[in-house]
Amino acid sequence: MSIMGLALKSLKNRRATALLTIFSIAVSVALLLGVERIRVEARNSFTSTVSGTDLIVGARSSSLNLLLYSVFHIGNATNNITWETYQELAGDEAVKWTIPLSLGDSHRGYRVLGTSDAMFSSFQYGDGQSLAFSEGKPFSVLYDAVIGSEVAAKLGYKTGDSVVLSHGVNSDSLQQHDDKPFRISGVLQPTGTPLDKVIMVSLEGIEALHIDWINGAPPIAAFSISAKDTEAMSLQPESITAFLVGLNSRISAFRYQRLVNEYGEEALTAILPGVALGELWQLVGTAESALLAVSGLVVIAGLLGMLTMILSSLGERRREMAVLRAVGARPRHIFTLMVTESVLYAAGGVMLGFTLLYGLLFTLQPIFQLQLGLHLAITPPGEFELILATLVVISAALLGSIPAWRAYKNSLADGLTVRL
């Protein structure tokens, strides 16, 4: 019988404690892999959102702030861009397309995003995917709205439903635009981007909501303009919050960025999304590292648990070792047997850990998509995972050599005497 066979049978004989040890290693491995997976996927999710966008232009602010409020709807704009400026910058010869973004209103906690048809024709995310509809179509008339998949799922909306938007994005003291309700014309398919959590309307729709507002205050009854009247009016937006730019060639990105940053009429900032994301990762990198370090320590704790288990079993297995010696096992066989056992624990733990991870991924994927808008891609183990798995097994072998060495010394000292 091979040493491996002996080790397997020996473990099987102690299956209760063996399984517990394997399970504790598995949980720690799954935790570490899970933390890493979520870190990578969160980054991918952010990167995916801006993957098709060459530049983002907004009022002058830090690049991170602009990135966060314009695309990820975190925080608020410092200022707006006038319509004239937007028209001029969008007309530059280097520009292939622009998507205007107008933020400021909300509906039951979800942002309202004023935009144009370009959002449906030009916006790209992930690996060059365009927005697709699970039902309905883009907005065509003034009071049409398109909702993201999460909004539809959470609020139970479908095409044809009527929604009333609120002024502002803070939930306290919201003023309702209840005189001008919108009708849902379409629902987007899930994208794994912040667009899952928005209600999109046309820029004209945003303008219509605020046409009779003066200095951010609602109109008094006498001066209010009805929804019906606005439809006949020419609704040119006065300003937008930011706009996304797609260039004909990325080579012109820096020239265009300089053009925007040095624009004389208004204080503007143009950012390259990748660069701004890099700043974001630097910012959150420390927290990520801390989380990874803690998970790493949990794996070490799991392995130390294994070591304790093996060391404490050595006493009762002394006789077994002496019998093995008597039937011809050399001390090195005893050493190999003990190390093999540790490696089996670790290998079992790692395999079970991967099983747990993928089980969790399959369970959590829809929940993460729905609750956080974070799309967890379920992919085969990557380089990091395989390196980690190898490291765990190697560490186990190294740790296992401690009890193996003791068993080795014991077997030399005990010889063939089977003590009672």
């Binding site: 091979s2 004989n13 008597a326 096992a329 063939l416 089977v418």
Partner: protein, 237 residues
């Protein structure tokens, strides 16, 4: 007694002490001949364990030579002695001979994995390891297929000792050392067990060294050696 054949075991002016200055073993001469069945009578404290350690090559004497099957054990490295022991000596102990997590058959064939020479002997017989184990077990009166399926820990002590004997005999080692193998058995089982052991040692051509303090067994053997008389160190102490 086979005096013309070279001895299987030959001890010459052997001295051994665990601690310097306190000899536990001092044997001027001991010769055991092929296929002899030797009874070594030794109460505890007579240096029995130490003698077995010397014969098994687990320890080497400070003085003198230990020859087993024509090999000077002291001249070998520890690894060579391990190989030699695995190939040439089968052991049966007083109790707990078996590996609890292996089946009866697996326990019996266990030495073959560590002893190429014994494995070769089984292969030369034209039988598989499994067949050879079953054959030995059958000779030792363990041929109930249901019994063989049971975990070794559920066997009676008498059955366990017979499995251990089969393990010591598999692959026909030159020497079988039995250390108080019957002390945990009832007296009616003892005689039967010893007879089985004799028959199998005869069949495989192995020399049997049987160590016990039970005088009642002495008469069944070819020769009896009193370790207390043999071991001068014991007298001193």
């Amino acid at each position: 007694m086979s005096g013309h054949l070279p001895p299987v075991i030959e001890l010459d002016s052997v001295e051994f002490s665990w601690k310097e200055g306190i000899p536990v073993l001092d044997i001027p001469e001991l010769k055991l001949y092929p296929q002899e069945k030797i009874f070594i009578r030794g109460p505890s404290g007579s240096g029995k364990t130490t003698l077995l350690g010397l014969l098994g090559g687990v320890i080497t004497p400070q003085q003198g030579t230990v020859n087993v099957l024509g090999q000077d054990l002291a001249a070998m490295s520890a690894a060579q002695r391990d190989h030699f022991r695995a190939d040439q000596i089968g052991f049966v102990f007083q109790l707990f001979n078996l590996i609890p997590y292996l089946s009866v058959i697996e326990n019996v064939v266990l030495p073959l994995g560590f002893a190429p020479r014994r494995q070769q002997k089984v292969s030369e017989s034209g039988r598989t390891n499994q067949q050879e184990a079953l054959r030995l077990l059958q000779h030792l009166g363990l041929d109930d297929p249901q019994l063989l399926q049971r975990p070794v820990t559920e066997l009676s002590i008498g059955q366990q000792q017979r499995v251990a004997a089969a393990r010591a005999l598999i692959g026909s080692p030159g020497l079988v050392i039995a250390d108080e193998p019957t002390s945990a058995l009832d007296s009616n089982l003892r005689t039967a067990f010893i007879q089985l052991l004799f028959d199998e040692c005869q069949a495989t051509g192995s020399t049997l060294v049987f160590v016990s303090h039970d005088m009642a067994l002495e008469s069944q053997f070819d020769r009896s050696i009193d370790l207390q008389q043999l071991n001068l160190a014991g007298e001193v102490a």
